[in-house]
């Protein structure tokens, strides 16, 4: 599995919220009228107000979000998940993701895990963990586990690297190294 080659970030925490709406538009997390706020602390203050006004005070670093099918559909913007990361959220596990949202967040180095069955597998505030090496999500509260879908290689590498730019820098360095090596060995 992924974790045997890559040092994926640890994902272990509580289920801070379950978005059970199919085709969920993540812009609703901060509300469309707040999408243009650039100050992340200010964004974090308005996040989740229409879902759970106490969210910011109850969430803990390491907590995770859970979503339904086609999470991130519509015209997703970056601010909602910037706010979530500021509050300590370390990843999203959903039944499935909309490609635009997926690519956008993976390029930020923000772990996304496609896991069919996750909605019925967890309740809010359960302690869970993504075991990258075993390819399962573990529910420590209930003592159960559920397999997730392996990530495309480049997406896993991008998450491991911490986002698009570090991923590309590492790739460029590897290519330079290969070139130098072939030059030295004369091949």
């Amino acid at each position: 599995m992924i974790g045997t080659q890559l040092q994926m970030p640890a994902l272990k925490g509580r289920v801070a919220f379950i978005f059970d709406e199919v085709n969920f538009d993540v812009d609703q997390i901060v509300g469309v009228k707040n999408i243009k706020i650039t100050d992340v602390a200010e964004l974090a203050q308005v996040a989740m107000q229409s879902y759970d006004p106490d969210f910011a005070t109850t969430v803990r670093p390491g907590d995770l979000l859970v979503g339904a099918d086609n999470f991130g559909y519509g015209h997703p913007h970056y601010p909602p998940m910037k706010a979530m990361r500021h509050l300590g959220i370390t990843g999203v596990i959903a039944e499935s993701f909309s490609p635009g949202y997926w690519r956008g967040e993976v390029s930020m180095g923000f772990p996304q895990v496609g896991c069919p069955g996750i909605l019925g597998f967890v309740e809010r505030w359960d302690e869970i963990e993504v075991d990258w090496a075993a390819g399962v999500v573990r529910n420590h509260t209930k003592g159960t586990e559920l397999p997730f879908e392996p990530l495309p290689l480049a997406d896993a590498e991008m998450i491991e690297a911490g986002g698009l730019v570090p991923f590309l820098k590492r790739q460029a360095a590897q290519q330079r190294e290969q070139k130098e090596h072939s030059h030295v060995s004369g091949t």
Binding site: I35, D69, Y73, P99, G100, V165, A172
Partner: protein, 418 residues
Amino acid sequence: MGYTITEKILARAAGLPAVRAGQDIKAKPDFVLAYDFPGYTDVYFKTMKEDFGIARVAEPERFGIFIDHMVPTATAKEEELHINTRNWCAENDVPLFERHGIGHQVAAEVGYATPGAFVVHFDGHVSQLGTFGTLAIGLRRNVMEAFVSDTVSIRVPDTVRVNLHGSLRPGVMARDVFHHLVRRLGPSSCRFQVLELGGPSVAAMSTEGLQTITGLAMFTGALTAIVNPDPVRLDYALPRARKTLEPVSSDPDARYSAVHDIDLSELEPIVVVPPTPADTRDLTEFLGLEINAGYLGSCASGRLEDLRAAAKVLEGRRVKTGVSLHIVPTSQELMAAAAREGLVSTLVEAGAFVSSPSCDYCFGRIATMTAGQRAVSTGTLNVRGRMGSPDSEIYLCNAAVVAASAIEGRIADPRPYL
């Protein structure tokens, strides 16, 4: 077992004898396209230079930049962005297309829709190049990989095949076909896959109609859409093509993850109700709902057949007082053709405000709505705040519905006017 057109294009682009859906590859795009937009191109240009030490791109002919948003500019800052883009293109010898129209349409006009080519962009609506057998994928920020290296890292996608049968009835347009697909198949039916259009009715469909359908593919979750190029599409694309490539098509025994059949003759005009592109309804359910604005344009539907449909409805009639109808042809080439045909005078005489091509009406930078207002639109999207206030509403529909609604000041059926 045979290969899909997508697998064939990506195999060539990856320099491999063959690839299959599910395989992780690095493929070299034939063309890397972008429009200048704050936070995108300006960031790429800066990152290339400062983080990767790239002073000039190695193969400028592989790139194409479009200035189609913030056209014309309204602030000094917007003009500065354009200057930055013009300078970068000049320093890099990269072709720049400014004020030719909306980039995804212009890309086809100026030969980036090369049949058999692999094209990347950050914006997903570039999928409309698929009309010509081009595999064109929107990668969002990941397109930066194509700016700083030769290749992009990609998993070869599966393909969902949709076969079209029968022919459209009057008043029903390509726009309706696409949104019917979303309704029938579901907004996640093609997630991370390619939507391939085929079947007996594709050959009879207009190129413009296919551009509309392929351009909106992302709302089925698809990475892109593609059509096996036929003589009509090749006649358009090959003389303009920027690269000599052998056009390819799916093998008859290619593997599809799903195959669907749609009978076009059963379709009726639709509206897509706010605030999601997933909510397709019959037009008849919403007749009579009052509107304040109409917008006919965008990379999805501002082409000649859309302008003709609107002109047919509006000829000899007037846009209702108090309703603002904005008609924005998708490109300069199309606007000139519409003028030669007399469509522009018909639309203007009916009271439409006709503007030169720009993306800006589609995302509410101009013709902005305030709280409580409602538009009928052929734009790409109807999410909250797309055309101004988050408390305004956008009903997506075909061009004839926009025109009929502008006459009546409420959502109207165009068929009595045709």
